[in-house]
């Protein structure tokens, strides 16, 4: 066996950091807190790099056993870690982006209250996320799964004094619970039928099975339930509603958790259990449809949003939709590829947006921005790169991944491709809209005032309900470039999203999709004779360029998608740079449809009416008044009252008079004697 | 005719004597005679101990003591007795009468009872029956003496309480507390001797001390058993038990007029007096029996003399003890009460226990 890698160190290091900061951080200075947090998250990153450096020499999958957790009969769950190409990629993304965002946060959160709290949560999140990624069985994965949920709840509600933040946190948690419910049932099914939760055991027993025809059967059920969980965690229809509200949290959190890492956990989980999905065509189709719809749906909403972070949130949802579409068509490697690139450019976008917000002293409404190009050049250029990347303009990262997904989607069905293409166009449109509204034109905001009247007005612009990060205006009023501490991660991420795609250049462009090859062992390890269907699509493709459809067609499709991106750019340029009054007219023209889109299709209201209100009413009626008050409280109270009554009647025996006691004793003794005699004489 | 008998020590032998050799009537007759004799001797001894005390103390204080009645005032006790008899016996008011009367009787009874088990000499044979010079020889004689003396407290205590005066009450309290306290060390001091001669029968104890060791030294417990510490403790406790100087707190003239018998007069007072002196004699007897080898001593001459000499030696020892009593009274001052208690609890008791342990070790090693 290969030498011991000490994988356990990777999750534990951030945990140590979290513990130190959590228990002692209150007394630490901000420098110390930041140092601790960075040290441990960085150490985790270094560990991952070490592992990666030795990875080629490993026999994959490399399983590291730590301890036995549960042993019940034949069923056993271990604390053990599972390292293969997939989890290695995830590790690199999580620790790398995570570390960068840690650095960024130091600058961003510098003047916030609860500095140590923030980094404690952040390290805690790293711990759980890494546990999730490294898990070698579904249960340990579930620990991480729940843990990241907890961390995200804590971080969304970081400004817990603000009602909207607190409720947003709750919303995220509850919606996730719905997903976790599905996940749990899937786990139970697995235990019932395979008697184990270890990946390799489950998969080993799954591989012999053929694909379930007719879309019914155990694997389908498991797949669908897993998809429910994934939808909850990765904000897919119908459980996406929590993600936009999650933007209440600090921007680095949005970048790390709600763009780069946590929300992609669903994708990771689906592709981790691809063996099951490949054999459940029905489930795969559902995944694909959900992904596609989500992509389109979120994109349309994204067009009309004016809050810069909300726009990014919806774009995140739609990009996640892309990934699920990829998984749904069996192109798991493509999904993971897009996951990685998306982590780069979306993280960058969020960080840049945070930098913008920071610059204009907490303003988040794009209508209050504009013309920032010259004022904050670093942010502008990095954000530009990110925008082009997400818009799918070659040769940036987004182009390759998105293009691959579209191509594979087409191979599955042209419908996917068409919608995907339209979504790509929409994406490009609203991203450039954001770009233009933010950086071009003339400044429409009020932060200018800061330059005349010093920082005291900084408080003036903290309107109620706005995130506390407004106070960034404090001390250095006016529009200003962010500190170097925040700029460096931007640059690094910009570089990554510039070049990140080149490891996956498809064969059609003269590259030899190295990324796909790298992930090959994971996704092709399950080839068995007679397995047909979606699984095959991935496999065939993976063995280099396809026979039947040559590079030509693929090149055409690439061109089309690029065109779509450029079209979006042009349209946005027309509408938001040339004549900015046009959008209002269009909106007026569209009328009710526009309203619906602005109000996100009234989905939240719908849910409120459908689920929340009945739930509240029912629990108030049955659980609260019915069970809690009339049964539990009643039993306790009546018990107490009864005891009171009885003792009140009996306590007169306790007269305190010695001779009375003696009398009782004598009577009792007489009774005992009589009983004994009676027993004896019988 | 009289001749010295062979000592019988075994319990079985004693029973044979009680059970077989004697039918019940003769036993009762003999016992009655012995009792009367013993009582007469004891009471006379008590009377003349008083005389002796007055004489000796008088000489110690450069006085003559009683001289008028008879030669050397030898008839003085008789005169005292008559005086006590004929004085008016007045009972103060407010006394609790039943106990006021009962108290002196209890005291004197307890004092006189203990003589019943004290052997004064060897067996003698009159005609066909061999009689021990002892009213009765039970094998728990020593325990009986202890019990009776411990009962003697009631006389004093009740007298003090029933006569309903603060002097008496204080005297009674002191007496009872003091007696209880010193009884412990008294008993413990005897245990050493008991361990040396594993028996409670005074006769056995005495027999065990017969003979000599190292050719000359008699095998008395005080020498052979190394019980001189126990002897000392016994002496101290005995003085306290009999309320004698230096422990006569209950009847301290200078503080409480006369202690527990302040309110008593005439015959009742005489009874207390008799009780005290009888107790003295008992204590002396027990001390000589346990520590000084009882009646052992050189025996010679014709059989009758041989039979009576042990009694003489015994009486001699008792006389010596009484003289020491009187001597101490003439010499030592009185303790303070807290000193008394401290002495009893903090000095005598630990000493007695230590002596007990040492003796136990010695016995265990010898065995």
């Amino acid at each position: 066996m290969t030498p011991h890698l000490h994988l356990w160190l990777i999750p534990v290091l951030p945990l140590v950091g979290a513990t130190i900061n959590g228990f002692l951080g209150k007394r630490f200075s901000r420098q110390t807190v930041a140092a601790v947090a960075l040290l441990f998250s960085g150490a985790a990153f270094v560990m991952v790099l070490l592992v990666a450096s030795r990875f080629s020499s490993l026999a994959t999958p490399h399983i590291e056993f730590l301890a036995t957790w549960i042993r019940a009969g034949k069923f056993q769950v271990d604390f053990s870690f599972y390292l293969d190409q997939l989890s290695l990629v995830m590790l690199l993304v999580v620790t790398g982006v995570g570390f960068l965002i840690h650095i960024y946060s130091v600058g961003y959160m510098w003047e916030e209250g609860g500095f140590y709290r923030f980094f404690t949560y952040l390290n805690l999140f790293m711990f759980f996320m890494l546990t999730l990624v490294l898990a070698s069985n579904y249960l340990v994965m579930f620990i991480g799964w729940e843990g990241v949920g907890l961390a995200s709840y804590l971080l969304i509600g970081f400004w817990f004094t603000k009602d909207s933040a607190a409720s947003a946190g709750k919303k995220a948690f509850i919606v996730n619970r719905v997903g976790d419910f599905g996940f749990l049932i899937a786990l139970f099914l697995l235990i019932k039928h395979f008697g184990s939760l270890n990946f390799d055991q489950v998969f080993r027993s799954v591989i012999p099975m053929g694909p379930e025809t007719g879309g019914a059967g155990l694997l389908t059920a498991v797949g669908l339930l897993l998809m429910v969980g994934a939808a909850g965690k990765s904000a897919q229809i119908p459980l996406y509603v929590w993600l936009p509200d999650a933007m209440e949290g600090p921007t680095p959190v949005s970048a790390l958790i709600h763009a780069a890492t946590m929300v992609t956990a669903g994708v990771y989980m689906v592709s981790r259990s691809h063996v099951i999905f490949e054999r459940a065509p029905m489930a795969l189709t559902v995944v694909a449809i959900i992904g596609t719809l989500t992509a389109l749906f979120a994109a349309t909403i994204g067009i009309t949003q004016t809050d810069i972070k909300k726009v990014l949130a919806y774009s995140t949802i739609s990009q996640l939709g892309y990934m699920f579409m990829a998984c749904g068509v069996g192109a798991f490697s493509a999904g993971i590829f897009h996951l990685m690139t998306h982590a780069f450019f979306k993280g960058l976008l969020f960080l840049a947006a945070g930098s913008v917000i920071h610059a204009v002293s907490g303003e988040q409404d794009m209508r209050q921005m504009g013309g920032l190009r010259t004022k904050i050049p670093w942010t502008f250029w990095t954000m530009t790169i990110a925008t082009f990347a997400i818009a799918g303009i070659p040769p940036l990262a987004g182009f390759f991944s998105k293009d691959e997904i579209l191509w594979r989607a087409y191979q599955a069905s042209w419908v996917y491709w068409l919608i995907g293409l339209f979504t790509a166009f929409l994406t490009a449109f609203y991203m450039f809209r954001l770009w233009f509204m933010t950086f071009f034109g003339k400044y429409r905001g009020t932060a200018e005032a800061h330059e005349e009247s010093a920082g005291d007005l900084a408080h003036g612009d903290t309107r109620p309900g706005a995130p506390a990060s407004h106070r960034h205006g404090h001390g250095h009023g006016g529009i200003h470039e962010s500190p170097r501490l925040m700029v460096i991660p931007l640059v690094v991420l910009a570089f990554l999203s510039l070049t990140g795609g080149w490891i996956g250049v498809p064969g059609s462009l003269g590259g030899s999709n190295r990324f796909d090859k790298f992930l090959g062992p994971v996704f092709h390890s399950t080839i068995t004779a007679g397995v047909e269907g979606h699984g095959l699509a991935g496999e065939k493709e993976a063995e280099g360029p396809e026979p039947q459809t040559g590079h030509g067609t693929e090149l055409i499709f690439t061109g089309i998608s690029v065109l779509a991106g450029l079209l979006g750019l042009v349209l946005a340029w027309q509408l938001y740079y040339r004549n900015p009054q046009l959008p209002q007219q269009i909106a007026a023209g569209l009328g009710s449809l526009y309203d619906a889109v602005v109000h996100k299709y009234y989905i939240d209201e719908l849910y409120a009416a459908l689920f929340v209100k009945p739930l509240i009413a029912g629990s108030a009626l049955i659980l609260w008044h019915g069970i809690d008050q009339d049964v539990i409280d009643a039993s306790v109270d009546n018990g107490a009252h009864g005891a009171n009554e009885v003792s009140d009647s009996v306590r007169h025996m306790q007269s305190g008079n010695l001779r009375s006691y003696a009398g009782w004793v004598a009577a009792g003794a007489a009774a005992v004697i009589a009983y004994m005699v009676w027993m004896g004489t019988r | 005719m009289l001749r010295a008998g062979r000592p019988q020590d075994s319990l079985a032998g004693r029973r044979r004597y009680l059970g077989q050799r004697l039918n019940i009537t003769t036993f009762i007759i003999v016992s009655f005679i012995k009792t009367v004799l013993a009582l007469f001797v004891l009471l006379t001894a008590v009377a003349y101990t008083v005389w002796l005390e007055r004489k000796v103390v008088g000489h110690m204080q450069n006085r003559w003591g009683p001289t008028r009645v008879g030669p050397f005032g030898l008839l003085q006790p008789l005169a005292d007795g008559i005086k006590f008899l004929f004085k008016e016996d007045l009972t103060p008011p407010h006394v609790y009468k039943p106990l006021y009367i009962a108290a002196p009787i209890i005291a004197v009874m307890c004092a006189l009872t203990s003589i019943a088990v004290i052997p004064v000499g060897n067996w003698i044979t009159i005609g066909s029956l061999r009689i021990p010079l002892q009213i009765t020889d039970v094998n728990i004689g020593l325990l009986i003496i202890l019990g009776v003396t411990s009962l003697g407290v009631y006389g004093v205590a009740l007298a003090g309480w029933s006569s309903n005066s603060k002097y008496s009450l204080l005297g009674g309290l002191r007496a009872s507390a003091q007696m209880i306290s010193y009884e412990i060390s008294l008993g413990l001091s005897l245990v050493g001797v008991l361990m040396l001669t594993g028996s409670f029968s005074l006769r056995d104890i005495v027999e065990a001390q017969s003979g000599t060791f190292w050719w000359i030294i008699p095998r008395w417990n005080i020498f052979y058993g190394g019980q001189f510490i126990a002897f000392f403790i016994y002496l101290m406790s005995a003085y306290a038990e009999t309320n004698r100087i230096p422990f006569d707190l209950p009847e301290a003239e200078t503080e409480l007029v006369a202690g527990y018998h302040t309110e008593y007069s005439a015959m009742k007072f005489a009874m207390f007096f008799m009780a005290e002196y009888a107790n003295m004699i008992t204590v002396a007897a027990v001390a000589s029996l346990l520590f000084l080898g009882g009646w052992h001593g050189p025996v010679f001459g014709p059989p009758t003399l041989q039979a009576l000499l042990p009694v003489f030696w015994f009486v001699l020892r008792i006389f010596g003890f009484l003289f020491v009593y009187i001597w101490v009274r003439g010499t030592l001052p009185r303790f303070r009460y807290d000193q008394l208690m401290a002495f009893g609890w903090k000095f005598l008791l630990p000493l007695a226990i230590a002596n007990l342990v040492v003796t136990a070790l010695v016995v265990a090693l010898r065995a």
Partner: protein, 100 residues
């Protein structure tokens, strides 16, 4: 020649007298003495049974009972003294604060 049962009945009578004393006496000291009386009755029964079964252990028990009784008397009388100091009474009917 006395039947064993006589001794036992005597002890029973003594015990009953003690119990009655405990019930009817008001003076703490008298109550204590009633307890001692009960103990004595029990002791007598011990000795009688010892004689019946020819087992000396019965007499040994008597010693233990005596020791316990002595200890109890010492502590009890100390308690009585302290009670009398605080309450100025020996009547148990007046010492009944230990109630709800």
């Amino acid at each position: 020649m006395v039947p064993i049962s006589y001794y036992l009945i005597l002890s029973g009578i003594l015990f009953a007298c003690g119990a009655t004393g405990f019930l009817i006496k008001r003076n703490i000291i008298s109550i204590f003495m009633s307890i001692e009386l009960m103990l004595n009755g029990v002791n007598l029964s011990f000795v009688a049974f010892a004689a019946q079964w020819h087992a000396l252990s019965g007499q040994i028990f008597v010693f233990f009972v005596m020791v316990v009784a002595a200890a109890e008397a010492a502590v009890g009388l100390a308690i009585i003294i302290s009670v009398y100091r605080t309450r100025e009474t020996l009547n148990v009917d007046h010492v009944d604060l230990l109630k709800l």
